[in-house]
Amino acid sequence: MTSIDLPTPDLRFDGLAGVPSTETPQTRKDFASDQEVRWCPGCGDYAVLAAVQGFLPELGLRRENIVFISGIGCAARFPYYLDTFGLHSIHGRAPTIATGLAVTRPDLSVWVVTGDGDALSIGGNHLIHALRRNVNTTILLFNNRIYGLTKGQYSPTSETGKVTKSTPMGSVDTPFNPISLALGAEATFVARTIDSDRVHLTSVLREAAAHRGSSLVEIYQNCPIFNDGAFDALKGGGREAAIIPLVHGEPITFGSEGEHGLRRDARTGAIDVVEVAELGAESLLVHDAHTDDPSLAFALSRLTDAGRINRAPVGIFRQVERPTYDDLARQQVTTARQTSGEGDLGALLSGRDTWTVA
């Protein structure tokens, strides 16, 4: 085998580098299409759509250079409601289409909108490979822990024991933790946010869009019809004790007075919940999303309840730099042209061994 030394990449770790911007000021309305939004009343998707439409003008990109790609499911209708380019594809395959588009078009800002069934069940294989390749896309994973569009079957993130139309005696499946899965798949940007917290959602979108590579954003999203209240513990009164906020460089504390905190065992890496008053602030775990070793982010992801969610870390678990698949693939084309020149079709077809018949 011949081994090829990869050139040292000189790449800007800026998710939007190469995407043309506009001087014309944009507003939320510029990103609303003429299509009537058809989600159920009270669906968490409305809040996410409003947040995205409100956030996109901030990027200052030309609308025609933004593409939203979705698969199948309630969330997959998302592209129809944005006045950008959009592609509503087939179940689970959006990451594949986004990969081909991102590799061939560095001038586009490519977004994937997917759900827990779309991304983690039928499309699980594509999701993990897109993440490990680190294709420059932002993936919004709407997790409502249920199948909505097919009317209420359990999903790969539903808690064990979930009673649904297809599991009248309760589901016997162990659910995925999407954050743990993404980290295991070598993702470079992994975050979680909540549909109803527009400020936090927007701040995570901002970081995700700025990240060069695959950004996975899990959005806890309420389905008022088939799984209403799945995230209620993280909303309304008492949420301070349920949400563990992750902020890079900050000690991790939670509770209405910040009375709880996290401590990491230096030897085992295990993370415990401790009372700040008992141990003192200096012993608390300080969040480091930028560390190359994913084990801290993984340990944090395991603090998410697997059953009914009464506690979950929210924020950016991991944000590290790694060359992207699409940049490296394009660089090979550039390198080939630089070293051997533009291809000559006639010479290619002739090859080395020709003969002439007079």
Binding site: Q35, R63, T96, G100, T104, N125, H126, A336, S340, G343
Partner: protein
């Protein structure tokens, strides 16, 4: 010693050995020498799916057949004139294909009791009378090779491995092949391993000298160069020609090529080849699975690249849903299916034509897809260009049906002038003064605009849900759905207007006495059918031949052509898939001839079929 030189007009040689014996390489080299000499040629590699099957067993036998002549030939030949067998298993697996009088060159080294038993021989065929009908040359190729290369200090095993080059040298002498290209090849291949390089070159030259000096080989043969159309030629396999056709289509359309693919036999060579040509703006993506391969290709097409995916039948099954999406999105996409024996995993390294109905109908809903089939290895180049022309012009996925025989087989290719290759015009949409309508159509082709992201004013959303006519908005309207289903079908049907009438080779039509039998084929059966038709004509049978490049839509005049003949014979390497389509569309009661043995038809076999049909024809009326 003066040796006799005999003139021959054509020869079929089959090299056979263990899958580790290097028979494919030996065949490739002999082919290259033959091409350089200027004979017409056609090759048939045949190898097991196992990379290294247990040594000495029948199912581990790998072979390479080459047919070369001083005239235009169409097939790799039915029955070998010469069999080179490197062990008992190779002899036993191939001897039944020989006619009496054939030459057998056999490496006698490995005919031990153990190896004979492993190959299923109760008695040693070199010692009983079972080979009496053949001219048998027993040569201890292994021992001669080991002796010849001993100075290079290789292990016994490595020394013995050069025996394929000894055999190549011997056969090259027998048929007066030029040797320079093989020596150069070995110098390059083993440039970093000088002792292997020297051993292989020495084995090759010793094999040549052995032929020239030993009394066992009294005769050598001369096959004059073929009279071929003036031009520059090279030898090419179907998979290589297909890869070049894709690159050429990218160059002629100005589109960058994006290949999304997952390795699968016998298509992987196209992925390998295209990955070497990045300086032509070709990007290759080895995906996590077949679905991702085509998904990424479709994404690239959405972005304005030439999206291509390459696979075989099992991969097409996985890609079906995405092909349906491409039908709905009405975007250009090329899907190359290098067919192999099926169903399921089937016969990965053997050839078959059994994916025609899959290509035609293998999707949910009414999802018409144009289908193109090359008819010879070099024709894969032109077929790729034609498939891309249709995909780009009509904004549609196109299926190209090659097969394992075309993909791996080779023939001389008259090089085209690059400037004379067809132009392909992407005609991307631009913003006008009216609101953009993503599903408005060209009145002639019914193609919709190819509106790529990055074009201001063309922002739009498309998807797999049914589209409203013109606007492309989601529509559940019954009348609209009926209209759109019919429109997508009509668009594919209209391609027929761009493809010209079917070429029919009917020797009688010039003097008013048209043949009564037409042999109609598609894909890789072109060679065997053509050779069979020539034989039948030599035997006085008036028979016409036509071969379909376009399987969907058919040429507009196909029905009319079929009705001119009393009998239409359709040989296929499946159970009658084209026959089914023809009968359904034209109500013509064609005569099928169908075999699925994983091997191409023989010319003699098809000539017999034509004879049989001719014999049963009632006398001409009036």
């Amino acid at each position: 010693m003066t040796k006799q030189v005999k003139q021959l007009d054509r020869v079929i040689i089959r090299f056979a050995g263990d899958s580790g014996d290097g028979m494919q390489l030996t065949g490739d080299r002999f082919t290259a020498e033959t091409a350089a000499f200027g004979n017409d040629l056609s090759t048939l590699p045949d190898f097991p799916a196992e990379i290294r099957a247990p040594a000495g067993t029948l199912h581990g036998v790998s072979s390479f057949q080459v047919h070369f002549a001083d005239h235009d030939i169409l097939t790799p030949g039915d029955k070998p004139d010469v069999l080179v067998a490197m062990n008992p298993a190779a002899l036993r697996a191939n001897v039944a294909d020989l006619e009496p009088g054939a030459t057998v060159i056999v490496d006698s080294h490995d005919f031990s009791t153990r190896n004979l038993t492993r190959a299923g021989y109760a008695d040693n065929p070199l010692e009983d009378d079972s080979l009496d009908n053949f001219a048998v040359h027993q040569v201890d190729l292994t021992a001669l090779t080991v002796e010849a290369v001993k100075e290079f200090g290789l292990s016994r095993k490595d020394s013995a491995r050069a025996k394929n080059m000894f055999a190549l040298g011997l056969v090259s002498w027998m048929y007066g092949r030029p040797t320079e290209s093989t020596v150069e090849f070995l110098q390059t291949r083993f440039a970093s391993k000088t002792e292997l390089r020297d051993a292989n070159i020495t084995a090759f030259r010793t094999g040549w000298n052995f032929g020239e000096t030993t009394e066992a080989f009294a005769v050598s043969y001369e096959i004059k160069p073929a009279v071929m159309r003036p031009g520059r030629y090279r030898n090419i396999t179907g998979n290589l020609a297909l890869a070049y056709g894709i690159i050429a289509a990218g160059q002629r359309s100005g589109l960058s090529v994006f290949l999304g693919s997952y390795p699968i036999t016998p298509a992987s060579d196209i992925l390998h080849e295209l990955s070497k040509h990045k300086r032509f703006g070709v990007t290759t993506f080895q995906a996590e699975d077949e679905i991702s391969g085509i998904g990424a290709a479709l994404g690239a097409s959405f972005g304005g690249a030439l999206g291509v995916t390459t696979t075989s039948g099992p991969g097409v099954a996985l890609k079906s849903e995405t092909i349906g999406l491409a039908v709905m999105l009405e975007l250009p996409l090329l899907i190359c299916d290098i067919q192999r024996g099926g169903p399921s995993t089937g016969l990965p390294t053997k050839t078959e034509q059994s994916d025609l109905l899959q290509a035609m109908f293998g999707r949910n809903g009414e999802a018409p897809v144009p289908i193109i089939a090359p008819r010879s290895p070099s024709d894969c180049f032109d077929a790729a260009l034609e498939a891309v022309r249709i995909a780009v012009t009509y904004r549609t996925p196109v299926m190209l049906l090659s097969d394992g025989y075309l993909g791996n087989g080779s023939e001389p290719w008259r090089l085209p002038e690059v400037t004379e290759l067809p132009d392909i015009e992407p005609a991307f949409a631009t913003a006008g003064s009216e609101p953009f309508l993503p599903y408005a159509r060209d009145p002639e082709t019914l193609a919709r605009p190819w509106a790529v992201p990055g074009t201001a004013g063309l922002e739009h959303r498309i998807g797999g849900l049914e589209k409203a006519d013109r606007t492309g908005d989601i529509s559940y309207d019954p009348a609209n759905h009926d209209l759109m289903v019919r429109t997508r079908q009509a668009k594919v049907d209209r391609i027929a207007a761009s493809i010209g009438p079917l070429e029919v080779d009917d020797p009688g039509s010039e003097h008013g006495q048209r043949a009564r039998i037409l042999v109609l084929g598609w894909g890789s059966t072109y060679g065997p059918i053509g050779a069979a038709v020539r034989r039948a004509r030599r035997d006085g049978i008036s028979v016409a031949q036509a071969h379909l490049r376009h399987l969907n839509p058919f040429p507009s005049d196909l029905g009319e052509v079929l009705r001119r003949y009393d009998r239409v014979v359709v040989p296929e390497m499946n159970l009658g898939q084209l026959a089914l389509l023809i009968r359904a569309k034209y109500l013509v009661d064609v005569v099928g001839y169908n075999k699925v043995r994983g091997l191409p038809f023989g010319a003699a076999e098809l000539a017999d079929v034509i004879q049989g049909v001719a014999a049963e024809l009632p006398a001409r009326e009036g």
